[in-house]
C-alpha cells in the first residue's frame, strides 16, 4: 500500500442510539465500538457538573438525575423554541446532538488511533430543510467537516446494495427506528442506486411503543393501589418507567410475557405484561406504518413502479416480531431483516468512502489534464477513459482493488421528501402555495416557473418560500411551512402582469437556492434558504466555543 486516502466516517445519529463506521483497507464497512465496547451508543446526554456524559452511563443516570439528562433530542431537531436549561445555561437541540457526535467520534478515534475530521451524517429521509440544517450544524458544532447529510434509508440501501450484488431489483426499505419511521422505495441496479419515492413520520418510532407500555404500567399501578395519582408527575418515576418499558419491550420480542416492577412513593406493584396485551395497546402505531407504506406504494405507482421485489427491515424497532408478521400479512412476502442496527452507519461510511475516492480520482485526472479540480468536477464523466486510467493508478497506489474503486463510481440518486413552492394568487385570486419542485422528484433538480406582478408600478415582490408534504401543484397556505422569504425590488413603471421568473435549485443534500428574476431589466435576487429554526449567529459561536471546551465522556 502506498499513499493513504483521506478517510470520511459515516455516523448514524439516531433518536435512541448512534453509531459510527468506516471502510477498512479491504473495502469493507465496519462499525467501530465505543469505549464501553458497545457497537451502538445511546443518544442520551447527562450534564454532570462540568463534564458531559454521553451513552449508557448517561442513560442509567436518568433514574437518579432525571432533570440533568436529555434523551430523544433528535425529535426536537429544527424546533426553534426547544431549550434545555442546565446551570443557568440554555442548550439548543443542535448543541446537545453535537455532544452525541463528539462521543462516538472520540471513542472511535481512541480505538483506531486516527483523528476524525470529515464525516457523513445520516438523517431520516423525511426530514425537512430545517431539520437537515440542524443536523449539519450539530456536526459543525462538534468540530467536524460535514461532507454530506444523507438519508438513512438511502444509506441502508447502499449497505445492502454493496453486499447483495445481483440483478436489478426494486426494494422497499421499511425503517422503523427509535424515534422515526421512514418508508422508501429504491431501485437498486449494479451501476446505480435510485430512490423512487419516500415518506414517513418523524414522530413515530420505538419510543412510542415504550410510551404505551409506560401508560399501561401507570394504569396498572392505579388499579392495584386504588390511587388516582398521576405517578408520571414524579420525574424519577417517569424515567424509571421509561427505562423499564424499553427493557420489557425487548424482552417481549423474545418471550411471551415479562414481569415489571413499578415503584412509586414507597409503594411497589408487580405487573405482568403479556405479549398479546402489548400488541393490543400498540396496534394503532403499527397500523400507521402500514398506512404510510400504502401511501408510498400509491406514489410509486404514479411513477410507473407497480411492484417491488423485496422488503428490507431496518432500524432496531423492526425486531419486534409483530412488525415482521404484520408486513408479511399485508404484503404477502417475507421481509428481509437486514442488519437493523448497523446498516445505516455502514451505508454512510461507504458513501463517505466513495466521496473520498471521487476526490482522489478527480485530483488525479486534474493533474493529468492540467485542469483545475473545479473544472473536472463540473464536467465529470466517470465512465470516461481518463477516469478508468486514474482508477487503475489509484488502485496500484493505495492497495484498494480496482474493482472496489470502480464500484465506488456507482451512481446514487435520491429524491426530495418535500415539495417546495411559493405563495401566489391562484385563478380565484386567493393566496395558495404553488409548488415548483414536487415531492419525490429526483435531486439535484432545477425548476423554473414564471409568475406575474399583481398591480401596475409594483415596487417589490415578496417571495415566500414554502415546504409542503404533498406532491400536488397547488396546496392551501395553511398546510405548508414557511422556510424563508426573499424580496425582489422592481424597477419603477412596470405594467401589471410583468413576468417574474423564479428558479428553484435543490441540491443532493436538500439545500435550496432560489433565484428570482424580473425579465425586462433582468433584476435578480439570489437566496440560499437560511432557516430561522436553527441556531445561528452569536448563539452558534457560543455553542461552538462551549463544545470545544467541553469534556465529553
Amino acid at each position: 500500500m502506498g499513499t493513504q486516502m483521506k478517510r470520511i466516517y459515516g455516523i448514524d445519529l439516531g433518536t435512541t442510539y448512534s453509531s459510527i463506521a468506516y471502510v477498512d483497507e479491504f473495502g469493507k464497512a465496519v462499525v467501530i465500538p465505543n469505549s464501553e465496547n458497545e457497537r451502538v451508543t445511546p443518544s442520551v446526554v447527562f450534564f454532570d457538573g462540568d463534564a458531559v456524559v454521553v451513552g449508557g452511563v448517561a442513560k442509567e443516570s436518568a433514574r437518579l438525575y432525571p432533570n440533568e439528562v436529555v434523551s430523544f433530542i433528535k425529535r426536537s431537531m429544527g424546533e426553534p423554541n426547544f431549550l434545555f436549561e442546565y446551570n443557568g445555561k440554555s442548550y439548543r437541540p443542535e448543541e446537545i446532538s453535537a455532544y452525541v457526535l463528539k462521543k462516538v467520534a472520540k471513542d472511535a478515534e481512541e480505538k483506531i488511533g486516527e483523528a476524525i475530521t470529515d464525516v457523513v451524517i445520516t438523517c431520516p429521509a423525511y426530514f425537512g430543510i430545517n431539520e437537515r440544517e440542524a443536523t449539519k450544524i450539530a456536526g459543525e458544532i462538534a468540530g467536524f467537516n460535514v461532507r454530506q447529510i444523507i438519508n438513512e434509508p438511502t444509506a441502508a440501501a447502499i449497505a445492502y446494495g454493496s453486499i447483495e450484488q445481483t440483478d436489478n431489483r426494486v426494494v422497499l426499505v421499511y425503517d422503523l427506528g427509535g424515534g422515526t419511521f421512514d418508508i422508501t422505495m429504491i431501485d437498486i441496479r449494479p451501476d446505480a442506486i435510485q430512490v423512487i419515492c419516500t415518506g414517513g413520520d418523524h414522530n413515530l418510532g420505538g419510543k412510542d411503543w415504550d410510551d404505551r407500555i409506560v401508560n399501561n404500567l401507570v394504569q396498572e399501578f392505579q388499579t392495584q393501589t386504588g390511587s388516582q395519582e398521576d405517578i408520571l408527575e414524579d420525574p424519577d418515576t417517569w424515567q424509571d418507567l421509561q427505562l423499564s418499558a424499553e427493557k420489557s419491550k425487548k424482552i417481549l420480542s423474545q418471550r411471551e410475557k415479562t414481569p415489571i416492577a413499578v415503584t412509586h412513593g414507597g409503594e411497589r406493584v408487580k405487573v405482568e405484561l403479556q405479549r398479546d396485551k402489548f400488541y393490543e395497546i400498540t396496534r394503532d402505531l403499527l397500523e400507521r406504518t402500514i398506512s404510510l407504506t400504502h401511501g408510498i406504494l400509491e406514489e410509486a405507482r404514479k411513477k410507473g413502479y407497480n411492484r417491488f421485489d423485496e422488503i428490507i427491515l431496518v432500524g432496531g424497532s423492526t425486531r419486534m416480531p409483530q412488525v415482521e408478521q404484520r408486513i408479511k400479512e399485508e404484503f404477502g412476502m417475507d421481509p428481509k431483516v437486514f442488519d437493523p442496527d448497523e446498516a445505516v452507519a455502514k451505508g454512510a461510511a461507504i458513501f463517505g468512502w466513495k466521496l473520498s475516492i471521487n476526490d482522489d480520482l478527480i485530483k488525479r485526472v486534474a493533474q493529468k489534464t492540467q485542469k483545475t479540480v473545479e473544472e473536472i468536477t463540473k464536467t465529470m464523466d466517470t465512465s470516461s477513459q481518463q477516469f478508468k486510467d486514474a482508477a487503475r493508478e489509484m488502485a496500484d497506489d493505495t492497495g484498494v482493488t480496482q474493482a472496489a474503486v470502480e464500484s465506488s463510481l456507482i451512481k446514487i440518486r435520491d429524491v426530495t421528501s418535500k415539495s417546495f413552492g411559493v405563495v401566489v394568487n391562484n385563478a380565484e385570486n386567493e393566496e395558495a402555495v404553488f409548488n415548483v419542485i414536487l415531492r419525490n422528484t429526483a435531486v439535484p433538480v432545477n425548476a423554473k416557473d414564471t409568475f406575474f406582478t399583481a398591480v401596475a408600478n409594483q415596487q417589490k415582490v415578496l417571495i415566500r418560500i414554502m415546504e409542503c408534504e404533498t406532491s400536488e401543484e397547488w396546496v392551501p397556505v395553511e398546510t405548508a411551512v414557511e422556510i424563508g422569504t426573499a424580496v425582489l425590488n422592481l424597477p419603477t413603471g412596470l405594467p401589471t402582469e410583468t413576468p417574474v421568473e423564479i428558479s428553484f435549485s435543490l441540491n443532493r443534500e436538500g439545500r435550496l437556492q432560489i433565484t428570482a428574476r424580473e425579465t425586462t431589466e433582468s433584476k435578480e435576487v439570489n437566496v440560499v434558504i437560511e432557516t430561522t429554526s436553527v441556531i445561528r449567529g452569536k448563539d452558534l459561536d457560543e455553542a461552538k466555543a462551549r463544545s470545544q471546551g467541553a469534556v465529553v465522556q
Binding site: F72, E79, N216, Q219, T223, D284, A427, E478, T479, V481
Partner: protein, 777 residues
Amino acid sequence: MDRENYYILLELDIDPPEQDPAKIDAAIKRMQANWSRLRNHPTKGIQAKNYIGLIPEIRKVMSDPELREAEAREALKVSREKEGEAFAEIDRHLALHLSKGYVSNQEITKLAELHHIEEDDIRARIKLMEEGKLAELDNQLGLRMAKGYITQEEISKLAKAHGMTEKDVKKRVNVPIRKAGSAEKIKGKSLDKSIEKVINDNLKIVGHSSLYEFLGLPETTSVELLRKTARKKEAEILKIAKKDALVTASGILAGQCSAIFRDQESRASYDISRGRSRLKDLEADIDVAGIDGKIRSQYFDILVKTGQDLGMDEAEAKSFIKNYCQKKNYAIEGQEKRKISKKQFIIIGAALVVLCVAAMGALYLLMAMQAKAEFEDTTERALQQKDPEKRIVIYRNYVAVNDPSKYTEQVNALIRETMQQMKADKEKAAFTSVDQQAKELLAAEEFGKALDLYKKYLADFPGGSQTGAAKAKIKEIENAFETYQFEELKALDAADTDQRIAAYVDYLANHPNGRHKDEVSKLIWEMGDEYYLFLNRRIELASRQENWAQAIEYCDSYIRIFDNNNAKRLSREKEGFQKRLADQKAFDAVQAKASRRGTDYDAALEDYNEYLTLHPRTTAKDKVLEQIRMLQALKYKSRIDNAQAAMRLKLSANKRFAEQKPGTVLDRKTGLTWTLLSSQEDLQECVSYDYAKAYVQNMSVGGVRGWRLPTEAELEAFYKTDNGYPAAPGLVFWSSKSNPRWADGYMAEQVIVVSVDEGVENFRLDSRKCAAVHAVK
C-alpha cells in the same frame, strides 16, 4: 378565546395581574425549560410540544401592553368560569342529599371538606337549588333522546319520577317515540385503560369529546364508513407539513380510529369504554351518598336513576350500585329480603327437573329399538335401486313417515350424498358438451363466444367438480385470444396514430395481465411524442374554433395514457382551456342575459360591466369589450335617431331649411350645408376647441365628408337671423376664428364664440374651455 390563557399558562398572578416585564420574561423562560423537559414525556409530550410552539406568540402577546391587558382580563374571566364548573359537581351532590327533603349539618360539613369550600358557600348553593325543576326533566329527556329516539317505557318512568303526566312529558319530546326500547347494554370487553388514556389525552388537545366527533360522524355510523373515513383522515393529516402538536395528536387519533374501527368487536370495546368512563360519575355519586357508611333508600333510588341516565336498564343499574357498595362496604337500607325468596325458588325448580328426566329416559330406550329396525330395512331397499332418483324417493319417504331420531340424520346424509353424486354426473356431462362446442368455436376464431361458454358453465355450476378444468380452459383461451389480438395490433396501419393508440390502450384494458403487456406498454411509450404532435395539431384546430371542450378532451386523452413532460405540458394547457371553457360559459350566460334586455342598452351594458368586475381576468375579455362597443354604438345610434327625429319635427314648419342627404341640412338662404345636429345633440356635452376641430374634420354624416368650423358670420347668419336654426338657449359655438398666443404672452389660445341668444355679444374663450360646435360645408 379558544386557546389557553397565557397568564394562567405561565402561572402568573392574575388579581392584580403581573405587569413587571422582567418577571414575565423569567416566567416564560422557566416554562420554556419546563416544557422542553416534558417534550418526550409519555403522556404530556404532545401538550408540551404544543406549548413550546406557542412561545413566539406568548412573547408577542405578553410584551405588548394592550394585548397583555386583554389577556389579564380574559384570565380573570376564565378563572371565574372554572369556579363555576366546580359548583356543577357540588350541585349534583347536593341534589342527592336534598332528595330526602333536607341536608343535615353533618353532610354540609363533609361536602365542604370534600370540595374544599366554606360551609356557608354550600348553604348558598342549597338555596339556589330550589329553582329549575323542569330544567332537570329536560336534561334527562335530552340524555335519552340523544340516541335518536325515545321509548314509551322511558317516558312513563320519567313521568312517574317527576310527578307529571305522560302527556306533559311527551310535549317536550322532539324525537320519534318507539314502543319497546332496547336500551344500550354495557357488556363485553372494554379497551385497555392506557389506550383509553392515550385517546382521551389527544382528544383533549384537538378539542373533541370522542373519536366519532373527531371523524365528524354520528355514533350510529356503520363501522365500514368509520373505517373509510379514518383512512381518509389519516391521509389528510399526512399532507400537512406543519407538524405541530395539533397535527401530531390528530395523527395519533387517526391511527387509533383505524385500529379501533377495524371491526365491529373492537369498535364495541371503544363504545363500552366510553360508557364505563361515564360510570365514574356514578361511582363518585355513590361515594358521596355513602359518606356516613350507609346508603339511604331515597339515595338508592336516585342513584339507580343516575345509572339509567347513563344508559343502563333498571336491573343493571341496581346491580352495579350494589356491587360497588359491597366493594366499598356501604350498607344499603331496605334491600335485603328479596334474595332469600329467589334462592328458594331455585331449589324447587331443580327438584322438578330431576323427576322429569327419569321418566323420559325409559320411554326413550323403547323407541330407539324400533327406529333402528326401520332404518336398516330402508337402506337395504334403497340400495337395490339403480336409479338414484328412486333411491332418493325411498329415503325421503322414511324421513316423512318416521319420527326424528338419530337415524333421520343418517338418512338425510344419504339423501345429500346421492344428490351430490347426481349433480357431479350432470356437471361432467355438461362440461363435455361445452368442451365440444368450444372446440368448434375456436376453430372459427370465435374466442369471445368460447369464453362465454366456459364462463356460463362456471356460473351454472359454481364450485363444481370441473371448475378447475373450466378455469384452465378460460385461461388458455384468454391467452390465445390475447395473442390473436396482439397480432392484429401489430398489423395496424402506422398512419392512423389515434386508432393505433386507442387499440393499444384497449388491449391493455382488456388484458391487464396479458403476456404482451410489456411490449404493448413499450409500443405506447414509444408513441409518446408522435401522439403528442398528432394531438397538438388537433388541439390547435380546436383552439382556433374556440372549441375548448374538445381541446380539453384531446388533452385528457393524452394525460390518461402518459405521464411525461408532454403530459405535464398538456395538463397546464388543459388548465388554460378549462379556464377558457368556464369563461366561455360565463360569457354565453351573460350574453344571453344581455340579449334579453332588448333595446334597454343601458341594462345590457351594465350586465357586461358587472361581468368584467366579477371576472377581471377572464379570457373572454375581448369578446365582452366587443359587445360593449357594439352596444354603445347601438345606444348612440338610437339616441341620434331620436334627436334627429325631434329636430326634423322642429324644422317641419320652417321652409328655410331642407334636409338633403340624411343628417345634413341645406340653408336655402345662405346656400351652406350644415349637419342636422350640432355637437350638443350629438355628444350631449360641450367640447374643447381642439376636440371641436378634430370632431368636424373626421365626421361623416349621410356619407358626406369634408366638414369644417363655421366662421363668426356664418354662425350668426345661421342662428341669429329670421327663421334661424333652432337651438337651446344659452349655447355658445366655437367659430373658426382663433387668436393663438394672446398678445401679452399668455400662452392660451383664444377663440371667438358665438352665442345663440339674441342681444348677447360674441366673446373670446380660452380654447381649453368648453363650447358646442356645429359643422358646416
